[in-house]
Symmetry: C2
Subunit: 170 residues, 2 copies
């Protein structure tokens, strides 16, 4: 274990991004609502944390245009996308002004009033639990207060910088 006494530096950002492009993930639109209206962005850094109590986490860049809204949000929603949602994913992942984003897709409201994508594969409505900052990002933990599953069972994934679909119908 002598090697463990060495000091190591973090890898370069570009190497990290290339490596991470190989870590496939579901594609989600994270949403919230403030007095200024609805906010949302495409997020792949979402994962299950604990089932008792039901908890997930969402990573958000603290320099993103959505951060001020999510920073103050008591509620938010993770809307997991289906095949056919590629353009919606691109729209919420780009520089489009917030008001224009919600012009695409069919949006309803969750228990708390947050935007819920009506035809999401699954939506996890969350109440903010707490958060920790790590590097450039904030990790937000949410208690899952409502789940809506679509009748159709087909997932949109993102891996190796492209979309992949996973059909489980029939």
């Amino acid at each position: 274990m002598g090697l463990m006494d060495h000091c190591y530096e973090a890898v370069e950002s570009s190497d990290f991004k290339n490596g991470m492009s190989r870590l496939g993930a579901a594609v989600n639109i994270a949403t919230t609502r403030t007095d200024d209206g609805p906010f949302g962005f495409t997020a792949s850094a979402v994962c299950s944390v604990s089932d008792a109590p039901a908890t997930l986490l969402l990573c958000i860049n603290r320099s993103s245009s959505c951060f001020p809204a999510f920073q103050r949000a008591r509620f938010f929603c993770i809307n997991t996308l289906m095949p056919g949602h590629q353009s919606l994913s691109n729209l919420f992942g780009g520089k489009t002004p917030m008001a224009d984003r919600f012009g695409s897709g069919e949006w309803g409201e969750g228990l708390s009033g947050v935007p819920v994508l009506k035809d999401a594969l699954v939506s996890f409505e969350c109440e903010f639990s707490h958060a920790v900052d790590e590097g450039t990002h904030r990790v937000i933990f949410g208690r899952v207060i409502d789940i809506r599953c679509h009748q159709r069972d087909a997932a949109l994934l993102y891996c190796q910088r492209r979309y992949v679909t996973c059909e489980n119908d029939g």
Copy 2:
């Protein structure tokens, strides 16, 4: 925003698990080494956090057999699996004694001595940064100190309780 004053309870564990089965993810084997030998378990709750410094997170159940090892670990490795690794994923995701798990797969050592799967799609060797407990789990943050990418570019994903492969070769 009047609705936001209500109180909400977390959803039931079974509903959470069903909903989360729709959140597709890469399949990884998280490994570490202690004086008692190598430890590893199949983990899908891994995600990118920050690229400056390069940081990822891993969620681990605090009641799992691997927890004592990861709790003390200064280094660990996230080995992201490829098509063909399904049985390895099942082996490290089950109740197999730790010593028997590493009898399958080709294992080398990282800079710090942690087990690195030689034919992983990508391996992220990490130095423990810090951790937070959330419900039943611990979220471990790791500074990525080395990345190894396989020449082959094909991912093994898990979604809707089955394996999905994503080929990007040729």
